[in-house]
Subunit: 333 residues, 2 copies
């Protein structure tokens, strides 16, 4: 009898563990690419605390909302936002049919491949290019053009696919949060339609949890078939003050965990910090010129200046990439 | 030994069933308020088919997106949209401080309680009133005013709380779809912020799965605390062509199941019908003047005219409320 009971108990235990993935118990280090130290410890302590029902800071699973910036937070963004390259590749493809672009300073520099000037136009310039180059396409055509590009284009410095340049420690953090019942959203200044075709495969984040900038679309019936056609008009710019606005619109709850890397994420951090639940604000500081890039207060791309001051003042957690991460990209392991 | 094995098997079976709610096996009729007949059968047949892995029309769980209109679909909408009453109650409360409203025909009729004229302004008029009466409030203040109203206001005809006037058969349908792995969204012409405070409790639909019309908001720091302040400007009108636009923006996938009751839902139906997966389009036809209301082609509220023609032409399923439902509201059981 005793032996049967033991076997039975073990089996039931295994069934309980394996039958519901979201409640799986993790014994191994869930964050192996993070060096031991205060940064990693503060993440683990926070997650332990808000998932412990006995804690006064316990967070109901339905309110475990985590928001992550994308460019420079989940993947690299240098020497310019990856979506820039996508848009410029489109401009060059289409330039022959658009002689009028030579009269537009932004497009002219793009055609001439003067990246430094284009970069200075920032995410706003990017959206300007996107909305012009993609007007008239259907959303399905745009999705296809993103998929084709993301499957073939290579980064000018590493010669890797762009989706290979996601941060291994962040992939682990996403998995760790999911295993602890968090629902993860991307909240990016980048285009919502540029991200959705690949975020599920790369990050495990489905389209409905991707928030970003967008251009307007119009519903049309084409020979009885409904399509959404892209218009040359910005719909929403999801950066800075736009991030809490979008979080409110799409989610309707404040995050308890917010992660970003630039001043464009500061208002999202402030929004999370104002949660009545205890919340966690995490900034990634790019400090590794050797393995990735080192930049902050003076950078045109991903500037981290006011955000760094406020993070220090408020005691938010700051990842020092060089010190805290023992691996950068999945391929570099 | 045999006895042990049997007990063991039964226990494991129970554990497997009860440990993962989403895979629970349902033996009882999941739709008891639906009369037997072709409408109910078509719903059950569709769900059986798309959840059967052996079927050529199997739908991957991550793509089981269902979109439901709210007014007239999940709850009643007569003699005028319930949010109208909320807005008018606000207008009357605030009228003394706004003498200028007497010069605005829409507001004047509202203050004079001339509901017939106000009703003719439709959902657009409602949004006009909402954006004016709520400008300057923070989103948190607005949420509180909705909560206060929904907990106390009563319907002029039934004298029931508005949230008591949800359709019992639809509550069963939502549960049934969820039990079969569908992710349910509300896609309503009504205000997103008017619905979110109570949809989770009433329908089991969390805020992040509620899509609707909205007015613009602005991020502000008030003495260091971030707030979103409502502006007197429409952000998005989620009706007719707006519904597929919003579905694309918020979800990024086409529904496989769409349910509505008016011409305002027709484009959402067309969008679902164009899914590459087999999809199901369900119109509720209000045919029960005794237990609810009977209206369609000529109604100012919830007009169903073009939608009815197209539903018949395309062979979409049409609920005949009087014939198909043996119960209307939860309290009438």
């Amino acid at each position: 009898m005793k032996k049967h009971k033991l076997i039975f108990s073990l089996l039931v235990f295994n069934i309980l563990i394996y039958s519901c993935g979201e409640h799986a118990i993790q014994y191994d280090d869930p964050l192996p690419s993070w060096n031991e130290g205060s940064t990693k410890q503060s993440i683990v302590d926070f997650v332990d605390e808000v998932t412990n029902e006995a804690s006064p800071n316990y967070v109901n699973p339905k309110d475990r909302i985590a928001t992550f910036d994308n460019d420079g937070t989940l993947w690299s963004e240098q020497p310019y936002y990856f979506q820039f390259q996508f848009a410029l590749d489109r401009v060059k493809e289409m330039a022959a049919d658009h002689p009028e672009w030579n009269d537009n300073p932004l497009f002219k520099t793009a055609i001439e491949n003067d990246m430094n000037t284009v970069m200075k136009s920032g995410m706003k310039g990017l959206m300007e290019i996107i909305k012009t180059t993609h007007a008239g396409m259907t959303t399905a055509e745009f999705e296809q053009s993103v998929t084709d590009w993301i499957n073939t284009a290579k980064h000018p410095k590493t010669n890797k696919r762009y989706t290979d340049m996601v941060f291994q420690p962040m992939l682990e953090l996403l998995d760790y949060l999911r295993a602890n019942g968090f629902k993860i959203y991307i909240v990016s200044g980048g285009g919502i339609e540029f991200m959705r075709p690949w975020t599920e495969e790369v990050y495990g984040i489905p389209p409905e949890q991707v928030i970003g900038s967008s251009i307007k679309v119009k519903f049309e019936l084409r020979e009885g078939t409904p399509v959404l056609v892209k218009l040359p008009e910005l719909d929403f710019f999801d950066d800075k003050e736009g991030k809490p606005v979008a979080i409110h619109k799409f989610i309707g709850k404040k995050p308890v965990f917010a992660c970003g890397n630039s001043d464009g994420d500061l208002q999202m951090m402030q929004w999370a910090a104002s949660n009545t639940y205890k919340s966690f604000m995490l900034y990634l500081h790019h400090t590794d010129a050797e393995r990735e890039w080192a930049y902050d207060r003076e950078s045109h791309i991903g500037r981290l200046d006011k955000g760094l001051d406020e993070a220090i003042e408020q005691g938010w957690t700051i990842i020092d990439m060089k010190r805290d991460w023992n691996s950068i990209y999945p391929y570099s392991d």
